[in-house]
Amino acid sequence: MQNLQLLLQAPVFNIQLLLDGMFIGAVFALAALGMALVWGVMNIINVSQGEFVMLGGFIALMVAEAGFSPLLGIPLAALVLFALGWGLYKGVIWRIVEADMFTSLLATFGISIMLQQLMNEVFGADVRTAESGLGVWFLFDGMVTVTQIKVLAFILSFVIGLALWLFLKNARLGQAIRATAQNARAARILGIDTDKVYAATYAINAALCGAAGALVVMAWSIHPYMGLPYTLRSFMIVIVAGLGNLAAVISAGLGLGMAEQFAGFILGAEFQLAFVFLLLVAVLVGRQIALARKRQYLK
């Protein structure tokens, strides 16, 4: 609670927290967009979302360790994850698209455990980060530091989100995805290959997460067990923002990022994760109370 006083006495710290929250929040929003896409189109809550982010991070890390700029890792991570997403769909996910939601919840949970442990075996459990090679800006007489890679992560998240939106709106495949989301059976009757649409949707989601992960490893850090919090953040953002609203997803992502920064600063970093999870419960309970007034349930 001492830190709370610090915030009141030195308002410039608030700016630091707000900025950091915004930057990381944009990355949360990116992963959440992917989750909303898969949830809306395939009716699957993808629990391995956070592991896709983690994998993206490790790919960018490998790129950096091979001597290239880790910035190159962003498209590469997206590409590799796209392929992995496609493969996972063809191997497992297609069998559970029509199953009840808990089946897909558990199956993707199984995938997430597998990926966690695999990365743990390959890279070890240490916290890792990749040097982007970009510089730092100092604001307010050096009281506020802004690393340029965070700003880049922020901007790129927006650009990717926008590109996704344009793709869904204009591209043929994008339109097919939207049609399938609205009514898969009708889409099939109209001659849309929904199996391919599902595969593409799942792969695009993985690619979004991969790009997000590459940004995370440069601007922040990664480790094999970072996934679950990312999954739950995406989930939380999607329930707050709804499935079909890009602007809402982004604002919810930014809001969560900032709330988390403040909570971590005030309560102590060791309670930041607990805060995220308890916030999720609070959000769910809040939604539930609001719906009860409308004679509805959270379902």
């Binding site: 442990q117 695999l118 607990a274 999720l280 769910l284 349930y297 379902k299």
Partner: protein, 359 residues
């Protein structure tokens, strides 16, 4: 009444093996004790996941709560808890005699169960107004949050954990904990068999099969879900209490709120067959034996295998072993007939309903 006899026989055989276990395989006594506890965990998970249709990723919370509450009670009966945990249990001055151990267990195990049950009621009041997958994910978040909170609480040893009371040299710990585990398993199986013979099973199955219809019938669905979860937590908490003593050391992440055990609970129930009395029991036995056999050979990759196992079971065998048995021998699962006495109450003219047969 064939079926009832078969069930009784199977139960008797299970308990017989249980009682003789320590003589049959004395060197595996701790593993067998774990197996009994795993049966309790699987059965307890299934009353929510299988019978009520609310899949909880958070039952590990009750396991951990039961474990910590029991340990704190056991220690607290004799020594100041804060000093005990501050000494990391290593301090030689904290000794317990046999009477203190017995009293501690007699208090700690039921208390662990009761506090876990209380936690289920509080969490249930918050979460059980929502439907299926929202509940599942909320419990997933809560499980991790609880582990983080426990790891930050100094009174119970924070991140470095807590040692359960060390038994005096003349006590046979493994045998004591084995029979406690066996006893808990027997009580759990009997209690669940009884619960499933009442209308409560119908009420929670109704929630699983069609919750809107259950509401339309005026059921107190949230209350019934909370009750099911509370029963689940009671036994999970007691299992946790014994498990903590069995392992001798409680670590917030690796033992008490071990996410892996949280997953095993689900896996055992699904493997054996959700929504049946015998499914989770069989699932626990099969899972435990294969785990013990194969884990040793997989060296570090066992968790990867666990993930793979989940995917395979969920995708390819969602009905579990009992589902497979049901397919092969459907007559074993013919709808249960009511007591014979019922036929005395046959309403007059029972044959007049032929017309409906054509409806």
């Amino acid at each position: 009444m064939n079926r009832k006899m078969a069930q009784l026989l199977a139960l008797a055989a299970l308990f017989g093996i249980g009682l003789l276990g320590p003589w049959l395989a004395p060197s595996y006594i701790s593993q067998f004790a774990q197996l009994w506890l795993f049966i309790v965990l699987a059965l307890s998970w299934d009353i929510m996941g299988g019978q009520t249709g609310y899949n909880s990723f958070g039952n590990i919370i009750f396991f951990g709560i039961g474990m910590y509450v029991s340990a704190v009670a056991q220690v607290g009966l004799v020594w100041p808890v804060a000093e005990y945990t501050a000494a990391k249990g290593g301090g030689t001055e904290f000794v317990f005699n046999a009477d203190q151990i017995h009293a501690g267990l007699a208090l700690g195990i039921p208390l662990g169960g009761l506090v876990a049950m209380l936690a289920a009621i509080v969490l249930g009041a918050l979460l059980l107004g929502m439907r299926g997958h929202y509940f599942a994910i909320a419990t997933l978040g809560l499980a991790v949050a609880t582990a983080e909170l426990a790891a930050g609480w100094d009174y119970i040893g924070a991140g470095s954990g807590m040692v359960t009371p060390t038994l005096p040299g003349d006590m046979n710990g493994p045998v004591l904990f084995y029979y406690l585990s066996l006893g808990l398993a027997i009580v759990t199986i009997l209690v669940f068999a009884w619960v499933y013979s009442t209308r409560f099973r119908l009420a929670i199955n109704a929630i699983r099969d069609d919750e809107d219809k259950a509401e339309a019938l005026g059921h107190h669905t949230t209350r019934n879900k909370m009750t099911a979860w509370a029963i689940s937590a009671l036994f999970t908490g007691m299992a946790g209490a014994i498990y903590g003593n069995l392992s001798g050391f409680i670590d917030p992440h690796d033992i008490a709120f071990n996410a892996e055990i949280g997953v095993w609970m689900i896996l055992m129930a699904i493997l054996g067959g959700k929504g049946t009395l015998w499914g989770p029991i069989i699932g626990a036995i099969v899972f435990f034996i294969s785990k013990e056999l194969f884990w040793t050979y997989l060296l570090g990759w066992q968790r990867v295998a666990l993930g793979l196992l989940i995917v395979i079971i969920v995708v390819f065998f969602p009905e579990g072993i009992m589902g497979w048995v049901r397919e092969r021998w459907p007559h074993l699962f013919a709808p249960p007939h009511l007591d014979d006495e019922e036929d005395d109450e046959t309403p007059a003219g029972a044959d007049e309903d032929k017309e409906a047969a054509h409806a």
